[in-house]
Amino acid sequence: MPEFLADPSVLTKEKLKSELIANNVSLPGGEQRKDVYVQLYLQHLTARNPPALAQPDFSSDEEREPTPLGARSRGAAAAGRKATKKTDKPRPEEKDGLDITEMSNEDLQEQLMKYGVNPGPIVATTRKLYEKKLLKLMEQGPDLKAPVPLPAISTTENTRQNGNNDSDQYSDNEEDPKTELRLEKREPLKARTKTPVALKQKKVVEHNQVGNRVPGNFKHAAPTLSVSELSDMPRRTPKKLLMTAEVLERTAEERRVERDILKELFPYEVSTPTGISASCRRPIKGAASRPLEHSDFILEESYSKYAQKYGTSTDTKSEKPPIKKERPVALWIKVLLFVIVSVFMFLVYQSMETNQGNPFSKYLKMVSPGRGSAE
C-alpha cells in the first residue's frame, strides 16, 4: 500500500518498527519509546503520502492532537508536520491571528488569562505545557473564554486536585486571608484559651495595667476582647464573618463547659483562662540592700536564691542567735547531723575497703593500729 497512516500512534510499537524497517528507515539502536518510532514514522513515511490527505483518520485527531502537539523537543520538524496535516481542518489555534507556537510568552500568558488560568512564568521549560493548555482551552470553547475546568484528559486521572482551580479565581490578595482564616479556625479549637489570653494581654499592655491580681477581670475581658478582635476581621469578606461567628460560638460554648468542669475539679483554684494565677512578685529580702527580718527566713531557706544567701551570709551570722531562740531546728543541728553521717560513712568505707591503696591508711595507722587487715 502506498498510503501511509497519518496517525501512526494507532499502531503498536512492533508494527511501527516493522513498517519502518519495511521502508528502509534506519531505527535507533536498542529499545526506544513508542513515541520515537511514531516520530520516525511521521517523518519518513507520512511525508511520502500522496498530497490528497482527506483521511478519515483525522476525525480521531481531536483527541490525538494533544499528543502530537506535545512534541518532545523535536522542535520545528514536528511543528511543520502539524501544519501540513491540518490543511483541511479548521485551525483553532490560529483563531487569534497567531500560531500558538509562535506566540510570544506575553501573548501566551494573556491568552491563558482570558480563560481564567493564571499561568506561572512562561519559561523555556514551561512554555510547551502552557501552549498545550491553551490549545485545550481553545478547543473546548473558542467562544467560551470563561473559567473552564481542566480538560477531560486530566479528569480521567485521579481527581485529587490541588487548590489551583479555586485559586485561579481568586486574586493573590485573598489567598493569605484565606489561609489566615483557616489558621484562625484551627487555633481556637486547639488552643482555645491561648488566644483570648494573648489578645487580652495585648490590651493589658496597651492600657498599661500593672499588677496581675486581676483574675476576675480576665474572665470578663476575654470574651468581649475576643469578640471585638475576631469581629474586626470579618469586615474583609462576609464569608469570614460567618466563619468567625461559628467559631466564636463554638469556642464560647466550649469555654463555658470547660469552666464548669474545672470548677468542679478545682474549687479552690483561682479561675483564670489558663489556670495560671500570677501573684505579685514579692521583693527579694536582702537584695538591693533591703533590710532582713526574722520572718524572711521562715520556710524560705530552701526557696531563697543562693546569691541572696551567700551575699547576706554576714547578715545571717548576726541573725543566728536570734534565730536560735525562735527556731530550735537551726543550722547547728544540721551541721551536727552532717558530721555524724559523714563519720558513719567513713567508718563504713574503712571497713569495706580491701585494696591496698587506702587513702586513709595514714590515719588508720593512727586510729587503729590493731586493724591491719585493711591495709
Binding site: G70, R72, T125, L129, S154, N164
Partner: protein, 89 residues
C-alpha cells in the same frame, strides 16, 4: 491515604541534596532519564514544580513528557513534592 515509604521518607525532612531518585514515583529508569535532561537533584525537579506554580496537573504533564512517567508515577511524584512544599516551603 496510603503513601509509600519513599514518600514518607522524602516528606519527613528537607530534601537537601538528595538525588532525583529519592522522589516518590521516580525509580532507576525515570531517574536516569531525568538526569540526562539535567534534573539530577530533587531540588531541580522541585524548581520545575514551583515554576509551574505548584500546579500538580501541569507538573504531571511535564513529568510525563520529560521522562515518560506513567499516571501513577507522576501522581506519586507530584503528591510527594506538594506535601514537601506544604511542610517546608
Amino acid at each position: 491515604s496510603s503513601t509509600s515509604q519513599k514518600h514518607r521518607d522524602f516528606v519527613a525532612e528537607p530534601m537537601g541534596d538528595k538525588p532525583v531518585g529519592s522522589l516518590a514515583g521516580i525509580g532507576d529508569v525515570l531517574g536516569r532519564k531525568l538526569e540526562e535532561k539535567g534534573f539530577d537533584k530533587a531540588y531541580v525537579v522541585l524548581g520545575q514544580f514551583l515554576v509551574l506554580r505548584k500546579d500538580e496537573e501541569l507538573f504531571r504533564e511535564w513529568l510525563k513528557e520529560t521522562c515518560g512517567a506513567n499516571a501513577k508515577q507522576s501522581r506519586d511524584c507530584s503528591g510527594c513534592l506538594r506535601e514537601w512544599c506544604d511542610a517546608f516551603l
